[in-house]
Assembly symmetry: D2
Homo-oligomer: 352 residues x 4
C-alpha cells in the first residue's frame, strides 16, 4: 500500500526483480508536453547494471516503452504508463538460499510482513524496483526543466572514506559527472574511488558512500508546511531508496557544530531579488524553497550482498555459513546517482 507517492504529480510504481515487467504510472503530468522514450532512456541507461566492470554483470537492455498518456509525441494530461521488460531472469540463482534470510537484506522482514519467502532475488526489495522511480523521475525532470528551467544533478561525493573536495555547484552538470565511471566529478578523487571499489570487489566485499544532489532554478515558494515541507518530502523520498541510511540538507549534521551567528544565512540583494550570502539552509527555510540551490546529501550503506561467507542462522535458527551466489554490485553509488535525481524530480514536480 505504499507504492504511490505525491498528490499532484502522482507516481505509482510496480514490478519485482523477476516478474515480466517493471514500470510506473505517472498521473498529473501537464498536457501538451513533448515527451517520448528518448527523454526517458538516458537516465535508465545511467541506472542500468553492467555499465562497467565495477557493477553487476547482470545484463538487461532496459528499454522503456510508453504505453499510454502520450499521443503524437505530446502528453494528453492523462496517466502515463511506462514499461520495462525483465529479460534476464535467473530465479535458479536464488533457490538454494531460500531457507536463509540474507543478512541486512529484506528477506526476513518481507516474510514477517507478507508471509512470502523471497523466492526470487528480493522481489520488491530488489534494486530493480528503482526502474519505476527512474522512468517516472525522467518525466518529472522533463516537466521541471521545460517549464521552470530547474536542473537537478547528483554525483558521488564519497566512497567509504574517500571524499571529493568542495565543489561550486554552479559548475556541476550531468555531463561532468559522467566523465568518470564512478560518477564523481573530481577526476582525481574518482580514480581513488575506482581503485577502492575494485579492491573491495576483489575481496568479495562491498562499500557504501554518499551521493550529493543539487537542484538549481527552483523558484521561491515551493513546499507545504508543516508536514509536507520541502526538506521533509525530500527526506522521505531519499530514505525510500534501497540501501539509504541518512539524509541531510544544507549544513546538515555538520551544522550542529556551528553557532547561530556563523550558521545564519544573511540576505543580500541579487539581480532577481533577495538571495543569501551563504547557503547553510540548503535552499529551504521553514519548509519552503527560498530560491537558492537546494543541496542535500544521501548516505548509502555498503551493499548487503557480498561474496564473503557470513556466519548467520537460517529461518529455523540453525547456524549456517552463508555464501551469496547471485550477481551484485560491490558499490551501488554510481548507479544510485540517477535514482537520487529521479526522486528529487518527483518530489519537486509535486510542488509545482
Amino acid at each position: 500500500m505504499g507504492s504511490t507517492i505525491g498528490n499532484n504529480f502522482v507516481v505509482t510504481t510496480f514490478g519485482e526483480s523477476h516478474g515480466k515487467n517493471v514500470g510506473a504510472v505517472v498521473d498529473g503530468c501537464p498536457a501538451l508536453l513533448e515527451l517520448c522514450e528518448g527523454d526517458i532512456q538516458p537516465q535508465l541507461d545511467r541506472r542500468r547494471p553492467g555499465q562497467s566492470d565495477l557493477s553487476t554483470p547482470r545484463d538487461e537492455k532496459d528499454k522503456v516503452r510508453i504505453v499510454s498518456g502520450v499521443e503524437n509525441g505530446l502528453t494528453l494530461g492523462t496517466p502515463i504508463c511506462m514499461l520495462v521488460d525483465n529479460e534476464d531472469q535467473r530465479p535458479g540463482d536464488y533457490k538454494e538460499m531460500s531457507n536463509v534470510p540474507r543478512p541486512s537484506h529484506a528477506d526476513f522482514t518481507y516474510r514477517e510482513k507478507y508471509g512470502v519467502m523471497a523466492a526470487s532475488g528480493g522481489g520488491r526489495a530488489s534494486a530493480r524496483e528503482t526502474i519505476g522511480r527512474v522512468v517516472a523521475g525522467a518525466v518529472a525532470d522533463k516537466v521541471l526543466s521545460t517549464k521552470f528551467g530547474v536542473s537537478i544533478t547528483a554525483w558521488v561525493s564519497s566512497v567509504q572514506n574517500i571524499s571529493m573536495p568542495d565543489v561550486d555547484v554552479k559548475d556541476i552538470s550531468r555531463e561532468l559527472v559522467d566523465r568518470t565511471i564512478v560518477r564523481c566529478p573530481d577526476v582525481d578523487t574518482a580514480r581513488l574511488m575506482e581503485t577502492r571499489i575494485a579492491a573491495v570487489r576483489d575481496d568479495g566485499d562491498s562499500v557504501g558512500g554518499i551521493v550529493t544532489c543539487v537542484c538549481q532554478g527552483v523558484p521561491a515558494g515551493w513546499g507545504e508546511p508543516i508536514f509536507d515541507k520541502l526538506e521533509a518530502s525530500l527526506a522521505r523520498a531519499m530514505l525510500s531508496i534501497p540501501a539509504t541510511k541518512g539524509f541531510e540538507i544544507g549544513s546538515g549534521f555538520a551544522g550542529t557544530l556551528m553557532r547561530g551567528s556563523e550558521h545564519n544565512d544573511m540576505y543580500v540583494q541579487r539581480k532577481y531579488g533577495l538571495g543569501t550570502l551563504t547557503n547553510n539552509s540548503g535552499g529551504v527555510q521553514g519548509g519552503i524553497s527560498n530560491g537558492e540551490p537546494i543541496i542535500f546529501r544521501v548516505a548509502f550503506k555498503p551493499v548487503a550482498t557480498i561474496s564473503l561467507p557470513q556466519n548467520t542462522v537460517d529461518y529455523d535458527g540453525k547456524p549456517v555459513l552463508f555464501e551469496a551466489k547471485g550477481r551484485h554490485d560491490p558499490c551501488v553509488l554510481p548507479r544510485a546517482v540517477p535514482i537520487v535525481e529521479s526522486m528529487a524530480a518527483i518530489v519537486l514536480a509535486n510542488f509545482i
Copy 2:
C-alpha cells in the same frame, strides 16, 4: 495543504504562535482506549518554554483540553480534538522587524509563498506550532504503549561538539533523560552541555545539536514499501520539525565508512524468534521493522534568533544591522526531545 499526516492514524494540526488556540485533531485512534488530559499534559510540560533559565522566558501554561472523541474517559473511535490556549501574546515584540526578513527564518519564504508578512512571531513557522504535534503524539504514544508495549525515548546526545558516550538503549528511559535539565542522560556530559548553553546565551548567540531516539518493542512487519517505508516515514516526520537539518537511522552516515562485511547484521536465534547480533540497520530492513530497536538521530541547527546584531538587508534590499528583540531559546534541544518522540509515535501509530 500540508497540515495533515498519516492515512490510518491521521493527525491534523492548526494554530499560529499568536492566534487564540493551537492544537490538533487525531482521527483513527482506536475506540475504548482510556484517555484523559493527564495522559497528554506531561509531554506538553516537557515541551513548554520556561522550564529552566536555559530556555525562553515566554510563559505559557499550555494546558490541554480534549473537546471531542472522548466520553467518560474512553475514546469513541471518533476524531479527538485537543486545544491549547495561547495566553501570553505580545505581537508588539515583532512589529519593528516587519520590514526585515530575519536571517535563516521563514519570514521571507512565507511572504513569497503566501504573500503575507510574518506580522506575529513567525506565524505557522513558529516553534509554537509543535504543540499540535506533541498533543497528537501523546495520544499515539498511549495507543502504542497500551496495545503493543512500544516505548519511545529520545534524548540530547550532542550539543555543538559536546557528545555523550555510547549508551545501551535498554537502560534508557524518559525518567533517566529528565534527570538533567538539558535532557542528556549522561550526567557528566549534561553538565558540560549546560555550561556551553549558558555561555552561548550570555554571548547572545545560540547552538544546535543532535537528538537521538529509540523505539523499543516495535514488532517485526511495520512499514509499507516502497514509498512509505518505515525509515522514509520517520525521515519525513523528523525533517518536518522546525530547525532540523538531518536524519540518520542505524549506522547512518558513519555506516558509509564501513565495508559490507562489517556492516551486515548477522541473524541470531533469540527466545522470541530471529534477532540480529548488531543493529547497523537501526531496526529496519527493506523499509519494514525487524523487531530490533529502531534507532535514529536528528540534527538540529543552532537557533536562528540571536541577540547579536546581524548584517543583512530588508525586503527592499537595503542593508540593515538587524537586532532581534523577541524571546528565544539559546538551544532548543532539550525542548525538542518530546517533539521527536511525538513525531516518532505518530509515524508508528500509522503503521499499526
Copy 3:
C-alpha cells in the same frame, strides 16, 4: 479515519453531539482572503435547530469562533480552526434507550464497528456533526464567490409527494429560498409542505424529501477524471450527509427514460463561448464542468427518530416496544439546505 475530505482544500471535522465542541479545520484556504465569523454565522443560523415550530426545540446558540488561520481579518494561508460549543447537553434523554438499537439509526452499526454503545444521542452519527461541514463550507463558499463569482443555492424541491414546479435556476437565490420556513422558493408549494410536516409531526411521525442544488458560475474545466470526476465527488459528498439515500445530476434517473437524440445537449454559441441549449448533462461532461449550471438533487429519507412506538428488539434480541424520547425534527429538509450547499462548496473549492 474518514473525517477528512479533499486534497487541496482539505476539511477535517470533529465533534460528537454531546461533547464540549464541534467544529472543523480547513487547510488550503488561500491567504489574504477577508474572513471573519460574520461570514460563517449566517449559514450556521440556517442550519440551527429551533428556527421554527417545524423543527426540534433543542436550543443551541451555535456561535462559531475562528481560533487560528486568520489575523486582522485576513486569512494567513494556514489551517483555519473553527469551534462551536455544545451548550444544551442532556445525556439523560438517551440513557434509557441504551440497550435498544434505535431502528434505522446508527446505534447498531457503531457498536459493531467501534464496540462503543451510543451512550449520548448518536455520537458522531448525530445531525450535530454537520456543524463542522457548515462552518467549513462557509469558508469554501467565501473563496468561491470572492475569487470566481460562483454562487451555490439549494432548496427543498419535494417533501414526501409534494413537489414544486420547475424553476428557472437563474431566478433562484438564498434570499428567495428563505422566504418560507420550509425553504421552498415556490410559496404555494411551501404552504402545502408546511401543512404536511405539521400533520406528520402531530402524528408523531416524520417525512423525507428532496433537496435540489444549483452551482452557477463554475468555469469549464473543473473535475479530475476518472475517479475524482466532478459528479463523483459531489455524489460522495452528498451521500456522506446523514439521512441521504440518493443523488442524481442533470437528467438523473428520469434521463434513463429518454433516447439519446432527446437527451444530448446541443452546443450553441454564447457571448462568452460555447454553451448548451439544454442541460441534461447537469453542467458536467466526462467528469469536468462545462460552464453550464451544475444541478443535482439529493434524496433524504424520513427522519428515523419518531414518537410512534416501534416493534423492534434490543441488543439481546428480546422484543421491545420502543418509544423514542429525545428531541427531533419531523422533517430535516429545511435545515439540510445549508448542509447541501456547504458540501457542494467544499467539493468545488477542492477543484480550484
Copy 4:
C-alpha cells in the same frame, strides 16, 4: 490527477482508447492469494464489445496479462500490474469530427481542461478506460469472495421505461444474469428490452437504463464515517463510471415518499445476530454496513454517440449538422453490469 482510488486497496488505472495498452495497478492486495489471468478474464469478457449484435462491432480480444505482483500463481503483497492491448485502432474514424465537439461527449470539456483536442475517440473519456476498472475489480472480487464470502451481482433492471419486476436478491447470481444477452435476469423483461434496443439501434438512436447491484455477505462494520461512509464511497465510485447520472441506495428516491414509521427497518433476531425485517436502509446505517444485503441502483444515460444527424456548432461556434461515424453501442447497459460490479468490489475491498 484522479486516476487513483482507495487508500488500503489502491487502484490506479491508465490507458486511452487508442494507445498501446489500457490497464491497472492494484496496490494493497493481500499476499498469498491464488490469482491468475483466469480469475480476471471472465469479467473482461463480459465487458468486451462485440458480444452480440446489440453492441458495438469493434472487435478487441481484450486478453489480460498480469506482469507483476504474482509469482507461481500466488500474490506477493506487492503491486499487481495488469495490461490489456489495444489492437483494433482506427484513429481515422475520428479525424473528420475533430473540429466539432460531439454533443454530450467530453470533447469540449477535455479541450477546456487539458488544451488537447480529442483526436482519438474520446481519449481517457472513452468507454475503453473501464477495462482498468474491470481488471482491478476482478482482483478485489477474488479477495472479497475468497476471504469473506462476499458475492457481488449486478443486472440490468431497466432499459428506458421497461423495468423488471421485483426480485428476491437471494436468488440472483451472475449465471442467472448472463442467461440473457441483455443481462436482465427476468427472461420476459429481457426479451422486451432486446426488442427495444434493436429498434432504437435501427433508428440510429440510443437508450439508457438502470443497473441494480447487490453485495451479499458483507459483515457489519465496514465504512468510515463521516466522509468515507460506505454509501458515499459507493456513490463516488458509481458516478465515476462513464455515462452515469444517478445513484440511490436502499429505498433511494422512492424512500422520500414514505413516512418514517413505514421506512424504518425494525430489528429482528437472526441466527447469526441482529438483522432487519425490511431493508430500506440498503444494508447501511450511519455509513457503516449492518450485515444486510447492500443494494443500490445506478442510472445510465442514453449513449451520447448516435447515428442520427444532430444540429450543433463546431468549436468556432459555426452551426453544423453533425453525423457520428465511429463504432458505438445503442445501449451500454449489458456491458455496464461487470463495470458496476467491479467498482463495488474495489470500494468494498478498500474497507476490509
